[in-house]
Structures are given as structure tokens and as C-alpha cells.
């Protein structure tokens, strides 16, 4: 089997991830931060080490401002619903995933104004268009760091400079880049970074979170959930300090143990090395697919401006047929359709049918890529 659906969820993981989870279940397994006993402290230690690893990976100065949650979607919702109020204006891009678009449309119905800045059909965004869309009441710029459809990377550093200059917040959806692409929340002026644990970070499902910058006052953030935090229990009101304010209820500590081990593994390996390895495979894949008659590849070819997620269509074959043939006849797992991102498909001109998407991971190799290209060539040539 060749797994090419890493943009949805990673398949192979370093054994350290499983080992950390098994160790947690067998040896720690207490409630982190709730009780003062030795195992509760050991659990709290594991969770705190994961906060430190995540903070280090994203160049965030304070591990206490790493808030864990269930996935990328929850983190994005926490940032948007937690901070936006009726009368506020938001600027976003036409490449966003529904994890951003749907909460924004729901907020729009409650009086938040939303401007969607168009990206080019290649999936590139001109930062000047963001600046032109700002209004006096703009509160936030929300940007996908990289598209889950075409893989293009959006100019978050330029958006960060614009956000600072105009006194607005920048929220970055790093679902597709965390663990695969360098991210510097301080250097790039990212006020809120939403990440998911189960894609390129190589952690388990049920992990993700939000990194909250110094310009955001946690007390002004409305929590998605209220409840027990193991702290300030004498009060019936939610505490104002982080991470407790936004982490009610017992966390997915066993998942966080795995995520922490995964991020530590990535840090040891070096994120630039990961990026280089995946970029080389992406270049090979794009070159191979582009050479097949009848195949159209979307997005930029420039490896400096894209991740290893590649969308394409095959003339005369529906994307569903191609995906099915890849799975049934060639044992290759891809994802076809709209990828939860109708706006992105409208932008690149593939709505409503969508595309076939190959998304490479760190454990793919050149043979996988060559087999996939060969399979697509056969399908484009009429087989099976």
C-alpha cells in the first residue's frame, strides 16, 4: 500500500510516539494538575513537556500560552468565537478550509463582517490585497498558512507586518504546515496560531491547540467551554490565566504524551530537513504528473512556495473514478473531491467536482512517487 493522504492525517509515525502513549497509559495515567500526588504530578509533567516542545517548535516564548485541545478545528473556533464580537470586521482568503469559513459564516450571521480576499487561480495571495481590505473596524486577519487543496503557502509574514501596522490580530491556520514548514510566531508576528496534532506533527488524533501571543489578553477571550481546571476551585467563575482559562475538563493527556514525543522527534530531526525532504519528493511528483498527457496539475511548481500536497485532474475521468482506480487497482490511497474547502476549489477553478489530491509525508520515498505517477499515467491512458 502507498499512503498519499498525509494532508488528512499522517499514517506512519515514529515509534517514540506510540511508546510515549503506552508508557503514559501503563505507568502514569493519572489526572494532570488535579491532585497533588506523585502520579498526578508525573502526568502534569508530561503535559508541560509537550507544551515546551510545541513552544520551541513554533518559536513561542511562553509554554503557558500553548493551549491544548482536540484538533485544529477546535483551536480555530476558540480563536474566532473567543475574540470576535458583533460589529467587528475580519479579512480572510479565498483558500480557506471550512474549519475557518464555517465559523466565520456563523459569526457573520451574528453581526461580524467578513471580507474574503481572492487568491490567484494558482493559489497565491498578494498581501497588498489584504491591506486594501482593512477597515477601521477590522479586528482580525485570518489566513491559512498553506492550502490543503493546492499546497500553496500564503504570505503570513507579510500579513503579520500589516496586522502590526494596523493594530489588528493575525490568526494563522497552520493545520497544513505545523511539522512540515518552519513557523516563527514571534518573528512573523502571529498573534494566534491554530495547529492540529495528527497531520505533519505526527501526533495522534484528538490533539491540537492554539498558541496565544502576548498581544492577546486571555481574560478578554471567551472560552468555548467552562468547567473544572483543577485551579481556583474556590471560584465559580472561570479563571483568567492561561492555559487553564481555555482548558476546562480533563485533557487528552495520553494523546498529548504522544504529541509531545512526536514534536520532540521533529525538533531532533530539524524542521528544515523535513521540509527539504518533502520538497524533493513534491518536485519529483509534480514533474512526473505534469508530463502525463491529459493530466492537469494545479498550484505553483515553485518548491519554495508550496507544501508536498498536490492536486490534479485527469481529462475524461471523474475524480471519483480516478481515486477508486488508484485504491482498487494500484493500492494507492489518495483523497478526491472538495477536501472540505469549496472556496479553494472555486479559486483554482475546480468547483464543484474537485480534484484528486496526493499529499506526501515524511515516510514516503521516491519509489512511492514513481509508482503513483505510473499509476496515474495508466489511468490517464484508459486503464483499468
Amino acid at each position: 500500500m502507498i499512503y498519499l493522504d498525509h494532508a488528512a492525517t499522517a499514517f506512519a509515525r515514529p515509534p517514540e510516539v506510540r511508546d510515549a502513549m503506552v508508557h503514559f497509559l501503563d505507568r502514569v495515567s493519572a489526572n494532570p494538575g488535579r491532585s497533588g500526588h506523585r502520579l498526578s504530578l508525573a502526568a502534569a509533567e508530561v503535559v508541560y513537556e509537550a507544551r515546551e516542545a510545541v513552544a520551541e517548535l513554533f518559536h513561542a516564548p511562553d509554554p503557558l500560552r500553548v493551549v491544548f485541545g482536540l484538533n485544529g478545528t477546535e483551536a480555530i473556533n476558540q480563536a474566532l468565537v473567543g475574540l470576535l464580537r458583533p460589529g467587528d470586521h475580519v479579512v480572510t482568503s479565498s483558500l480557506e478550509h471550512n474549519a475557518v469559513m464555517r465559523p466565520l459564516r456563523a459569526l457573520e450571521a451574528r453581526g461580524v463582517a467578513v471580507t474574503v480576499v481572492r487568491c490567484s487561480p494558482e493559489g497565491l495571495l498578494d498581501p497588498a490585497h489584504i491591506e486594501q481590505a482593512l477597515r477601521p473596524e477590522t479586528r482580525m486577519i485570518v489566513l491559512n498558512h498553506a492550502s490543503n487543496v493546492v499546497g500553496t503557502v500564503l504570505p503570513v509574514a507579510a500579513a503579520g507586518r500589516i496586522a502590526r501596522a494596523h493594530g489588528v490580530l493575525l490568526l494563522v491556520d497552520a493545520a497544513q504546515t505545523a511539522g512540515a514548514w518552519p513557523i516563527d510566531v514571534e518573528g512573523d508576528h502571529i498573534d494566534l496560531l491554530a495547529f492540529t496534532g495528527h497531520k505533519s506533527l505526527l501526533g495522534p488524533t484528538g490533539t491540537g491547540g492554539l498558541v496565544i501571543g502576548a498581544r492577546v489578553d486571555p481574560g478578554a477571550m471567551q472560552p468555548l467551554k467552562h468547567g473544572g481546571t483543577g485551579s481556583a476551585s474556590e471560584h465559580e467563575r472561570q479563571p483568567e490565566f492561561l492555559p487553564d482559562r481555555l482548558e476546562s475538563g480533563t485533557p487528552n493527556a495520553v494523546g498529548i504524551a504522544g504529541l509531545g514525543a512526536a514534536v520532540r522527534w521533529l525538533l531532533d530531526r530539524g524542521i528544515e530537513a523535513v521540509q527539504e525532504q518533502e520538497a524533493a519528493l513534491a518536485v519529483r511528483l509534480i514533474a512526473g504528473l505534469s508530463a502525463i498527457a491529459g493530466v492537469r496539475v494545479y498550484g505553483t511548481e515553485d518548491p519554495a512556495r508550496r507544501t508536498a500536497t498536490v492536486s490534479f485532474t485527469v481529462a475524461g475521468r471523474s475524480v471519483a473514478e480516478v481515486g477508486y482506480a488508484l485504491d482498487e487497482s494500484f493500492d494507492i490511497l489518495s483523497r478526491v473531491g472538495l477536501h472540505c474547502a469549496p472556496a479553494a476549489h472555486r479559486t483554482i477553478g475546480t468547483f464543484p467536482e474537485g480534484t484528486v489530491r496526493f499529499s506526501l509525508g515524511l515516510f514516503n520515498n521516491a519509489d512511492d512517487v514513481d509508482c503513483a505517477v505510473d499509476a496515474v499515467a495508466r489511468i490517464a491512458g484508459g486503464s483499468p
Binding site: 494538575g33 498526578s40 511562553d62 483543577g230 485551579s231 490565566f241 492555559p243 487553564d244
Partner: protein, 75 residues
Amino acid sequence: MSSEAHAVVVVHSTSHAMKITRRLKERGLAWKLVPVPRHISSDCGVCVRILRADVEAVRSAVAELGVEIVGIEEI
């Protein structure tokens, strides 16, 4: 060592205790996570026990970190 020689840093949250103890370790200051003494009110279950002689050094280390604490109390 008798308990007379100690003080505790009372914190809001166990995560805060984790952040503080890392800094104390860097500074070579003695610490131990202990249950909150009965006469002190804090809910988070643990506090950071330090040497009474280190109270001022700990206070400034904590202030530099920017972690808000409940207080430092002698025990």
C-alpha cells in the same frame, strides 16, 4: 533539615508550578513540589517548597518569568 527552614511558593495552577521549577533548576535553587500545607488555601494541590534563605532569589526569579503567584509563605 527541619521544616522551619522552608517556605512555599503558592501557585494558581500546576502548569505554573512546572514553569517556575524549571527556572529554579536553571538558577541552582533548591525546590520540591509538595502538597499545599493545610493552613494555606490553594486549590491546585501542589506548591513549590523552597529554602527560606532563598526566598528573595526565588521571588525575583518568579517575577522575571511573569508568572502570577498566590504568594510565598513560610512554613
